[in-house]
Symmetry: C2
Subunit: 130 residues, 2 copies
DNA sequence: ATTTGACCTGGAGCGCGCTCCAGGTACCAG
DNA sequence: CTGGTACCTGGAGCGCGCTCCAGGTCAAAT
């Protein structure tokens, strides 16, 4: 069982110190241990949980929904099916998101193509070289 | 040369009426024609421009940067290289974004996999059926 | 003994991107 | 003439997700 200081947890999770405190405050992160001076000591489990939160945030899940998931997780094994459904739903949205980005990216690249023709030979990607 | 009412422009662009007015106010959309009563009449060119804005927004470009692009576009042909650079930069970010989403999606799917084993036979995707 | 630095708390503030509202105008239908 | 509807304006307000701040505690280093 390793323990991590707030600074280490921040670095490993990619959340800022303030965000870690905020997440604990709103209930996304519970039961973080404290040392005698009241300072947080994050466990490996905490970090694993943070990695999941990071994943959900990165993929655009709103905090309210992460909270829902968190509460289900805390409620016990019998909520597993619901948690699974929640993640599957989210996964579908992520797939759509990727799809939209890919399609819009084609539009961008088509536009870039127009500029490539317009700006002719293309003088390397260095605007200062001239 | 077709013209479109605000409602039509909204529907075709996917931006709300308020957003269209807002975009015009901040300068993302300029030179929209008006009828005798002062109502906007969007042209095909306006809609083409809106489609580009929609594309940039969907891919996460901040408004400040769209504004920059807009100003370059208005400044004339000689800014083409800079506009191209801007889009290429954005395209790279979009690629990264897609990449991140794809990687995080794997994490989600791995997690779903765990729930699949946990919740056993999987009773079709219908939480009400039981 | 004091300084430094990492951490604590509660609560205010912020940046973004809209979204809503009040109050008004112009046109069309009955 | 009366509604009704679609639009107009300027400006206030909002939801989200942090982020910052003031004022304080503790422990190790000098």
């Amino acid at each position: 069982m390793n323990f991590y200081s707030p600074a280490q947890a921040s670095q490993r999770s990619g959340f800022s110190l303030d965000t870690l405190r905020y997440y604990e405050k709103i209930g996304l992160l519970a039961g973080v241990a404290r040392d005698s001076a009241g300072r947080r000591r994050f466990s490996d489990d905490d970090l694993t949980w943070l990695r999941l939160l990071r994943c959900l945030r990165d993929t655009g899940m709103p905090i309210a929904e992460m909270l829902r998931y968190t509460e289900l997780a805390r409620a016990g094994e019998h909520t597993a099916a619901e948690r699974r459904a929640l993640l599957e739903e989210h996964d579908r949205r992520v797939a759509e998101q990727i799809d939209l980005l890919s399609r819009q990216r084609e539009h961008i690249q088509w536009k870039i193509g127009i500029y490539r023709e317009l700006t002719a030979p293309a003088p390397a990607a260095d605007p200062v070289s001239a």
